[in-house]
Symmetry: C2
């Protein structure tokens, strides 16, 4: 089934079940007022939501048209957002300018950081920045919502806890990344609100594209309507989501409704730049710029400026967005 959270003027929004083709929705408010409440009672809420989903897709109940602009982030505020670095290609391409000193460990244990989760952005929210000279970048990622997991979880416990799958845009201010990394306290100022796809989907609905704790679908990224990258999220993912969850439980348990991200999707290739229809390209700008510097002596791809638009969608075999499209435009914050 596919779930979404609709704007209703409240901070947690209204839980809705969305049709497989994302054209219709029905409120799930009678089952749970919002997604966190459903996750808190998943054993009873999940079968009821699945029933509603079957009735909706069978056309047995009245439904409303689903407009992406109605959707908030599935968890508009979450108790935890953990982002990983599962695609080593991303780290290898950007390490030089991001200055990670963890090279020796990167292949053996995934890097994880604690992200802000008090205000997560909707797929169509603007990327609000006070200064678009901060090297505004996007990062196309896969994300999962999990149930609670004990400290030092096994792979089996980790895999069994995955409730929903979606995509996200981990907005990054590259000019502030180096400073955040240098002070050693992690990404704080350099990672403003992450945006999430309009729909999050259960693994059973995604199968066979969801297998071995990875999403085996191409993720298409466009900037201002022009193709920028289309890596496959199932390719070159060095750590799967069970690995990421297990790593996150080394010293602590994880609460119900924790969001975990894959880090920037990156496929191995030696392309010099993005955007040609037959290329794989990149799922963030800084990777393209780093490769361009090496090949041409200078970066050609500009970072995002006010008015620039980035679109991210995971596509099924027919080329349709599975989770809906993340479609954000950079806007300047005015106090």
């Amino acid at each position: 089934m596919k779930l979404a959270t609709l704007r209703n003027g409240r901070p947690d929004g209204l839980l809705a079940v969305v049709s497989r083709d994302l054209t219709k929705y029905v409120s799930a408010g009678r089952i749970a007022p919002n997604l966190q409440a459903a996750l808190d009672a998943w054993e009873t809420a999940e079968p009821a939501l699945q029933d509603l989903s079957r009735s909706l897709d069978a056309g047995r109940i009245a439904a409303q048209p689903f407009d992406l602009a109605l959707a908030m982030a599935p968890l508009p505020r979450a108790y935890q957002w953990i982002d990983g670095a599962a695609y080593l290609g991303h780290l290898e391409r950007v390490r030089g300018i991001q200055g990670s000193k963890d090279g020796a460990l990167q292949g053996t244990r995934p890097l994880l950081y604690q992200g802000g989760s008090d205000r997560l952005s909707a797929a169509t929210d603007p990327i609000l920045v006070a200064d678009d000279g901060l090297a505004v970048d996007f990062e196309a990622e896969i994300a999962v919502v999990i149930g609670s997991v004990p400290m030092q979880a096994t792979r089996e416990q980790a895999a069994a806890a995955i409730r929903l799958v979606g995509i996200c845009n981990d907005v990054s201010l590259r000019r502030l990344v180096a400073e955040d990394l240098q002070n050693g306290f992690g990404f704080f100022h350099s990672k403003p609100s992450t945006a999430f796809s309009p729909a999050f989907v259960t693994p059973d609905e995604l199968a066979p594209a969801w297998r071995a704790e990875k999403l085996h679908l191409p993720v298409r990224v466009s900037i201002n309507g022009k193709l920028f990258g289309q890596p496959n999220a199932g390719v070159d993912m060095h750590f799967d989501f069970a690995d990421l969850i297990v790593a996150a439980t080394q010293t602590r348990s994880l609460g119900n409704g924790t969001l975990i991200g894959s880090g920037t999707i990156a496929n191995a290739h030696d392309e010099a730049s993005s955007g040609k229809p037959d290329t794989i390209g990149f799922a963030c700008i800084v990777e393209a710029r780093t490769v361009e510097k090496l090949k041409y002596g200078r970066a050609r791809t500009p970072f995002l400026k006010a008015g620039d638009r980035v679109s991210i969608a995971a596509l099924d075999a027919a080329g349709n967005p599975v989770f809906g499209t993340i479609d954000q435009t950079v806007a300047l914050f005015r106090r």
Copy 2:
């Protein structure tokens, strides 16, 4: 007024108003089911809670005895926990072994890190560790709960957003800190669940001890019943809470119910060790060990082991705990 969250089998607990002397409580469930709900409707909830508090302290309503063991963290799960480094004495004492590379900035802008907030510990919860050889340490801090604050907030907006004040124990696994800092992704494995005082208190209730966005009270720390430190939280706090909040809004707004910590309380002194009645001492073990290494060539104060107990309380003029006492014992996690 003084607020607490009582265990009721639900993840967010039950909101209660506690008497000034912390001996009695009355449920505030009719005003708001839990503290986050009260914060979400603070304009209407706060006056109703203040009325209830006045009735309780005047003995006009039936109350139950307040047992610290009933209390969860005031926000048992929060949408955000941001911890700062407001006492430069702490950074100066530990920098050598914690390897922060931000020395040049430390006096001009507070360091902040994003902490985990999905499962915050009660004052009497055990400090659960899989291995007590990880150099288990505590950090006695002041913490505030704030309402929502816009991006690039002014000092006035920041100060006006402070709703409640309390204390916390930012448990730290020192053996993992260096690795976390080196990988640059921030404290992840080295900072398990932070514990919070049983009661959180409004600034008006604390005045005059709460002034200039600082808490001017001694915080007494004991290990296994023996005095370890008693620094005053209002002394040598280089950045006040308005500074911390403003710094946190450099690139983003802050959601309602955000928790912000001061970092380890540290007063300037040249004492060689902790624990004498007429000394100030330290509010974490690693500071004492660093000073001991410099003075004696070796650290004398051991880190915490299974069975060790740490107690933290902010004391009023009469020597009574204002927020109740954080009283935790280290316990080994068994899968």
